[in-house]
Symmetry: C2
């Protein structure tokens, strides 16, 4: 059965050009070719094997990660020198992604280096970046403490300037001030950016970053005054246990003054604080960048899970056999389709909104360089909200995909338990999802409150400028196919969000103290924020330039170049049938939201129960249309079997023999009679405990 494609009958049903869809998914031909090349390179290298990962104990697992990280670095260096073309930093990042194993290098490249770039002065960058680029030092990012996560301003670590020696004294005054969580800190990093409260001349000046050397570059021993270790096991087999998230305490250790990152605020030789002419807002630009990466990663994780569940749903047969024939493929059950296909549609939706966010980041960066901060609050709210929305949905979806695989989804061999365990922290790091939604809500309430004063909302909040219309409008769906009109869908989502925002604002106005109101109504506010963020995913489209203040329009008009879902549908898309599939996916995404959040739509009067029922009818019809293309739609993600890491999701569908084969690799199968049998089980069977009344 080796070499046979057990899903060929599925692939034969495909009604569109899969290769063209691969380009759409990747974003461009170049992006496709790059990721294809890197994925194959990793998959073909035996060092990057990962099918044994969930069976390894912590030490063995960790050592293996070090081996892979070192090998990946070696491959990157080789490719720079001898590859078919010189590898770029982006390509090197792709290679690391496909290794698909969290390690200290993640923090080094994704947090340590960008922090120096973003917060370091030119001289600091010149000194530290070359060392970091060559990995002559390995850095972590030490912000979170045992007692403080979301509330960064509450961090307890102190950095006190000592004018006598021109040094900062870094100290952990309490147990809860111990740095806790930074990846790579536990056993590997030589340096870290440590965030601490700056104190000079007895005065506090907020939280800032300091470059602190943690370990000797010679023998790797922690430097004097530094207590440092790994914080212990985390969720799942393999998963994030390949990473040495660490704890560290500082006992009055000293660093030179020039190791405070001083791009924004400088401390002089005398200990005076001087604001530089670099705007503080720059850090928001970095947040937009980090969060757009998280949104992109959400679509990746979600699509992996969906790929596994979709393929296995086509392989698995259960019930429905008549006259001894084949049983029904579980993907043919409407219950399976109604759970699986909306997740497939979400994977595509998040992919496209992620592409759009990339553009938003470029736009914001250009504006920042031109000292135009006008779109920053909106961009910040937008990325915060999408980070929350996509990570929460993805975490839930991975577990749902696991359940859709029935019992076998519970085996590590399915790949889904590890994918879940490694993914879920995304709901918490870089902004707890609920805290972020409250930030979005705060921005929305501010936007609504300013409507009367004539301030025009921009970008993703532009629709609130038409709030009077949206409070009045009526959905004019009369037949189920009316739900396939983009205008109808958009208006329903805009009206829902606008009405929920206005209702919240009205309820808030009943409180004397607005902060009390915000606290009391926070659960409602979170729901309004979710409605707004779903609208963004649904509506990313050519902006309404007339609503954008003229001053805010530079070379690249805000929201002018879009890569959102609805925008994709308005382009000419090459490839037979591709556009049709994207349309079907779009409406599945949209109408499933209408169904799932029906309470919102009905309670705000945006649609009627009858229209809701028509949306359901349309949804069922779309499931039938997607069904024959389901396998091809997950093939379009172009994942190698190595990257998927799932027996259930194998591209050739040859699931059962491989599952059987895999079982025997478990250490418990090393011996026929297990260790402990003679000591504990045999005496039980032989009643050597028999002197009891039974």
């Amino acid at each position: 059965m080796e070499g046979v494609d057990h899903l060929a009958h599925e692939r034969n049903k495909t009604e569109f050009d899969v290769d063209a869809m691969k380009i759409v998914w990747a974003g461009s031909r170049h992006a496709f070719e790059l990721s294809d090349r890197m994925a194959r390179l990793v998959a073909s290298d035996p060092v990057f094997r990962k099918d044994d990962r969930t069976r390894l104990g912590r030490k063995e697992l960790f050592k293996n990660t070090l081996r892979k990280a070192s090998h990946a670095w070696k491959r990157i260096l080789e490719l720079r020198l001898t590859g078919p073309c010189v590898i770029t930093e982006e390509e090197a990042g792709q290679l690391r992604n496909f290794v698909d194993e969290p390690s200290f290098t993640d923090l080094h490249w994704e947090m340590f280096v960008p922090a120096i770039k973003g917060q370091g002065t030119d001289e600091q960058q010149q000194k530290w970046l070359p060392l970091a680029y060559k990995m002559q030092i390995i850095g972590s990012y030490a912000q979170t403490e045992l007692g403080h996560g979301s509330n960064v301003q509450g961090l307890e670590t102190t950095a006190t300037f000592d004018p006598e020696t021109d040094e900062f004294v870094i100290n952990s005054p309490t147990l809860t001030s111990s740095k806790w969580w930074p990846g790579g800190l536990g056993r590997i990093c030589t340096h870290a950016i440590v965030y601490a409260r700056l104190i000079t001349n007895g005065q506090e000046h907020g939280v800032h970053g300091f470059i602190v050397q943690l370990r000797s570059l010679d023998d790797h021993m922690p430097l004097p005054g530094i207590t440092i270790g790994d914080i212990g096991m985390k969720f799942g087999n393999g998963a994030y246990n390949t990473m040495d998230n660490g704890v560290s305490k500082f006992d009055h250790i000293r660093i030179p003054r020039n190791q405070m990152l001083m791009r924004v605020l400088q401390v002089t030789r005398e200990g005076k604080c001087v604001q530089s002419n670099v705007p503080r807002q720059l850090i928001y630009g970095t947040m937009v960048f980090v969060r757009q990466t998280i949104v992109a990663n959400a679509s990746t994780a979600l699509s992996r899970a969906v790929c596994i569940a979709t393929r296995y749903s086509a392989v698995r047969r259960q019930f429905g056999s008549q006259d001894g024939g084949m049983e029904t493929q579980v993907i043919d059950y409407k219950t399976q389709q109604s759970r699986l296909f909306p997740l497939l549609a979400s994977a595509y939706a998040f992919r496209f909104v992620g592409e759009w966010l990339k553009w938003l980041y470029t736009d914001v960066t250009q504006r920042l360089q031109a000292k135009d901060f006008s779109t920053l609050p909106e961009a910040h709210a937008c990325t915060a909200g999408l980070k929350s929305l996509t990570t929460a949905a993805t975490a839930d979806a991975i577990e749902e995909c696991r359940k859709l695989c029935g019992g076998h989804g519970y085996l590590c061999a399915s790949g889904l338990p590890e994918l879940f365990a490694v993914y879920v922290p995304a709901c918490t790091y870089e902004g707890d999802n609920v805290v972020l939604l409250l930030q979005v809500a705060r921005f929305l309430m501010k936007t609504v409150s300013q409507l009367d004063s004539g301030k025009k909302p921009v970008g993703t909040t532009a629709y609130l400028g038409r709030v009077q219309d949206l409070l009045r409008c009526c959905c004019d769906v009369q037949r189920d196919e009316d739900w396939l009109k983009p205008g109808v869908v958009l208006e329903a989502f805009e009206a829902r969000s606008a009405r929920m925002c206005v209702a919240c604002a009205k309820n808030l106005s009943k409180f004397e103290n607005p902060e009390d109101g915000f606290a009391e109504l926070s659960a409602d506010l979170v729901e309004a924020a979710v409605a707004h963020c779903q609208l963004i995913v649904v509506s990313k489209r050519k902006g309404e330039p007339d609503l954008t203040p003229a001053t805010a329009r530079g070379e690249s008009d805000h929201h002018n170049k879009d890569e959102g879902f609805i925008d994709k549908l308005q382009q000419d898309i090459p490839g037979k049938g591709v556009k049709q599939q994207l349309q079907n996916l779009y409406y599945i995404y949209v109408l499933n939201l209408v169904h799932k959040y029906l309470g919102d739509f009905l309670s705000t009067g945006c649609i009627t129960p009858k229209q809701a029922s028509l949306a359901n009818d349309q949804l069922r019809s779309l499931y039938s249309q997607i069904r024959p293309n389901a396998i091809a739609l997950v093939d379009a993600f172009n994942y190698t079997d190595h990257y998927l890491g799932s027996v259930l999701g194998r591209s050739d569908g040859n699931v059962y023999p491989k599952l059987y084969e895999e079982a025997w690799k478990d250490p418990l199968n090393d011996s026929v009679v297990p260790d402990g049998y003679h000591e504990y089980v045999h005496p039980m069977l032989k009643q050597q405990l028999r002197n009891a009344r039974l």
Copy 2:
């Protein structure tokens, strides 16, 4: 700080008698004392230590489980002989529960023994049960195969009668017929009930159970013709990896004819099949039993997670500090309350509906003995539905509790990752949750279709007898406190369920072939089933005996003795303030459902948007009322710190020092310079890969 109660300020706020609530939670004083004694016995025994579990590799972990199982058995035997009172089977089961580690003994006691009791003839019981009771044999339950789970009738293993030798030949004809999943099968069990298609004289007679010896009782080697092993790693650290779920293939192995379980169907010496006079329906009684246990376990798992999240939410402080004072406890945030308190309320709700199911099982058993099968379909649908509802809600809730603990919830030390990983299979085993809901839906559609013919629905479907009223009724909530009337709540839930059922029935009637309709509308049918099951949890109360057919009334009137939530509220409950707390929890459970399933209530016109908004107002007010009692309400579960197994959920609230202490136990902290550093990291830092262009 040892010995200090960091949650004392919380416990001082309590407005009710916690000891009295402990009795309510346990079900009776006797039940409380029993579980309290067993929990302490296990907690105080160092062999049952489990805080190192998530750090152990598979072999070490498994050996340790064997040790614990053997030790538990020894303790049980000792207690039978010398304990303060003679231990019963129920008490022995409690002791095993508190050991809190899945092992082969679970299958032995919970599946192997009951299967012989339920399906074995008297002679078979006399032969096998004493061996099993003394653990001279250890049994598993081998039903599921690699290719078949839910569809038991599709199992492929065969048992062919050979009249020459008076034996059955057990055979695995295909790879997919390999037995797959049975706990204890992998490395330990000596015997199993193997389910196989019975074939005699060339004819098939359905699937039956056969007692098959797997391993030698002398040297534990698999018997000839049997291939057997462990199926490999499953989700999570520790978790179910303590269990040797197994795979086995049979190559024409032979067992004596009298090892087929023949209580219902007998195979004679000549190979003829003879139906006994024992009704087949008996097996449904067993299913009711198993599923009521699962519902009880759901409330246990959920309450553990809620206990951890509630205590840690009172310990954790974040934001809101003014003038350098303490920050706000996260439990005081409405966003936290609106996620946490409904889960606390669900724990209590599931506990009480579980108690009611115990009664239902007793009732069904008595009726079966009297050959009264009239209530069986309803009881079966009811337990299937509640199994699905409570396990799905509990799995989601554990993960939600983990998220409510912020970043630290991701550490194994929080106890929540393992609780989740060990719990989630409950959504799949003993009936996949969606398959079960479809069974409920089928029963509901049948009930609705028989209304016209005058057949009165019984028990939990009795309300459908008033369907005409329920289609017409209007909710008369005008102020938020109107939502605190039991009649109002019940009518809203009855109307919602009835209207959804009727709508489904109407849509089904449009199909020529009812099975096509059922398939096409299955997602809607599942939603109607959920609405019905939620009604059961909300409404368990004194039945309506006038609706129960006279013939169906025996000694114990159906639904006469209730232990449901609403029923508890109608009793006199001893203990200051206990009743008030239960009422608050009840309405939180109910009104949160109204909010979460608002689409159902609005689209069926059961309530208005205005009434929905009033329900939300009332919900917020209830959160404020529960808040000061939250810690005491989780204290009432009476869990030992050992059983909880969570640093975050410690009873004394001394979280951070213990978390810090726990970290150092990780194997990665055994050496300051980790294994692999010299080989892989040092060369990187020292640029021994330097011959590259950088």
